[in-house]
């Protein structure tokens, strides 16, 4: 099988805009799932609300498209009630970190055996481009017309601090690395959190000086700093630039976990 076998073909084409990175992230996720050798009948995809959360609708397994921000709470019910099921959650920055922030930290704390793929496009795409908790300071959106004045969340640091077993960040440019990270997350018992930085040409790029889709992907590529390199720079006393974000495997540990299949 390949990732293509996991698509619900009678639901295609999808709703994503031209140039959107979500499809790339879904492909990476499904490739990782496929490599696990999981059966479709034993796998459930859960999501909340937003562009990212439409993903389960295009996947052929049992899938639960829930209320805004609550995907992790629904997924917790599924997983605890039937730990045999492999449960993967798709979410976005607004869904996970704003309205769903409380469920996020408590799912990390419980270290429940879910794998969460967060498509972070730094904007509310589906509702037309409002600022989110990960919109960088100074960036334009329909609700930050003079530039965002709020410091954003670092979702991976949040997940690490709250207790997740596996945490990684990659981008829609780093497809091989992203796929491997998702697979590592699927293999790790407990809560796995993979943040995938992605472009939203329609509602983020267009307002923030990324004239072409490739411009924003190029930005993600050039402003991503490998964790190993970041650590080396700090070790050598070099200053880490302010406008970069760290990518790589940021946490792997074995805290006690809930909902693990016996």
């Amino acid at each position: 099988m390949t990732f293509e076998d996991w698509f619900r073909t009678d639901r295609l084409p999808h709703i994503y805009c031209a140039g959107c990175g979500n499809g790339t992230i879904i492909n990476c996720t499904l490739s990782a799932v496929d490599q696990m050798g999981w059966k479709k009948d034993d796998t459930v995809f859960v999501s909340g609300i937003g562009c990212s959360s439409r993903a389960p609708g295009y996947i052929v397994t049992d899938s639960l498209h829930t209320t805004h921000g609550r995907a992790l709470a629904f997924a917790t019910g599924v997983k605890l009630a039937n730990p045999v099921l492999n449960v993967v959650v798709f979410t976005g920055d607004g869904d996970l970190a704003a309205i769903g922030g409380n469920h996020f930290i408590h799912s990390c704390r419980r270290n429940i055996d879910l794998t969460v793929v967060c498509m972070n496009n730094q904007i509310y795409g589906m509702t037309g481009g409002q600022g989110s908790p990960t919109t960088p300071m100074g960036c334009l959106s329909t609700t930050t017309p003079y530039g965002s004045a709020e410091p954003p969340f670092d979702l991976c640091e949040l997940a690490i601090a709250a207790g997740a077993n596996y945490v990684a960040r990659w981008t829609s440019y780093h497809v091989k690395e992203l796929e491997k990270a998702v697979k590592a997350g699927l293999e790790t018992p407990g809560f796995s959190f993979i943040e995938a930085m992605t472009q939203c040409p329609t509602n983020f790029g267009r307002r923030n000086k990324f004239k072409q889709v490739a411009d924003q992907v190029e930005y993600l590529k050039t402003h991503a700093l490998l964790k190993a390199k970041r650590d080396r720079m700090i070790g050598q006393g070099e200053k880490v630039p302010d406008d970069v974000f760290v990518i790589g495997e940021l946490m792997r540990r074995n805290r006690p976990a809930m909902g693990v299949k016996v």
Binding site: K40, L64, H65, A73, T76, G77, N82, L85
Partner: protein, 366 residues
Amino acid sequence: MKSPEFWQGNTACAEGALAAGCRFFGGYPITPSTEVAEHMAVKLPKINGVFVQMEDEIASMAAIIGASWTGVRAMTATSGPGFSLMMENIGYAAMTETPCVIVNIQRGGPSTGQPTMAAQGDMLQCRFGSHGDYSVIALCPATVQEMYELTARAFDLADQYRVPVFLMADEIVGHMRERITVPDRVGQTPRRELEKGVLPFRADTNLVPGFATFGKGYGVHVTGLTHDERGYPCATNPNVHAALVRRLVDKIENARTAIADYDIVNPDAEQVFVAYGAPVRTVQQVLHDRPDGTIGFLRLRTVWPFSEHALRAFSQAKVFFVPELNMGQIAREIERHVKVPVVSLPKLGGDLHTPPELVAALEAHR
């Protein structure tokens, strides 16, 4: 029948749920419902069930819906402020036709109100509290025995009609202790599984679709968006939306006589009480003190869908009295169905009506 027990109402609720096969409880502590959760926390792990204390009532409701899709009987218990938080996902359960049981041990509101005092102020919220049109089932116990039996029945109704079912109790019934005879068994009508090859949201003649349990190979897509019979989002077709919402309402409202549960006392009386929950106890005392058959009593155990046909049993009625621990929420419903005067008898603050208060109302309208 087993030997009699002496139980608190909330304990009887939890035991009724366990007897009905409930194996998943997701909840958040809130007075005066907490004993339900505490009892489930003790009992469920011993019988291979799951108890999980969630981070809030929004998550509690979400967790029981997720659990229900794996095929287990799932419930939560709460009170006013928590009930308000659950409204979002109660609507999701209604839209996705997810069987689940929500226990509300009602306390005085609005807001934090009176955490330790009884009320019935959430009777309209349980029917209309989430956005959009839908219908639900609500049961109201007046005894510890009914806390057990109606909780058990709630699971059967939830599975049969694929709908959230509410046990709308109150602090008095939840916290009082009285004798209960535990039945050897309660009915367990299983959820009707979807037949292979049938679309997952295509209803049968009862307007209820078969259930596509997760993990059984259905590949079902469940969404709170307006969806077609395949379960696929279809949010801009007016006909699909209208047909879905009408079915969600009709599957409950058309079944009101089957869901109904009430007692009729003295149907030839001219003065008739209608009550549910704790105020039933005061009405019973008034009838006990005046055994001449001149006072009618409609005692409701099912409040939603409303049993308006039961009102017609009182063909000689000249006035209906409705004692409630609220400002007349069900009295308004009764007014819609009868042509004679309906006298709302609100009681706020947490105490029950006293028998003299109800007798005074009878005298004032004689």
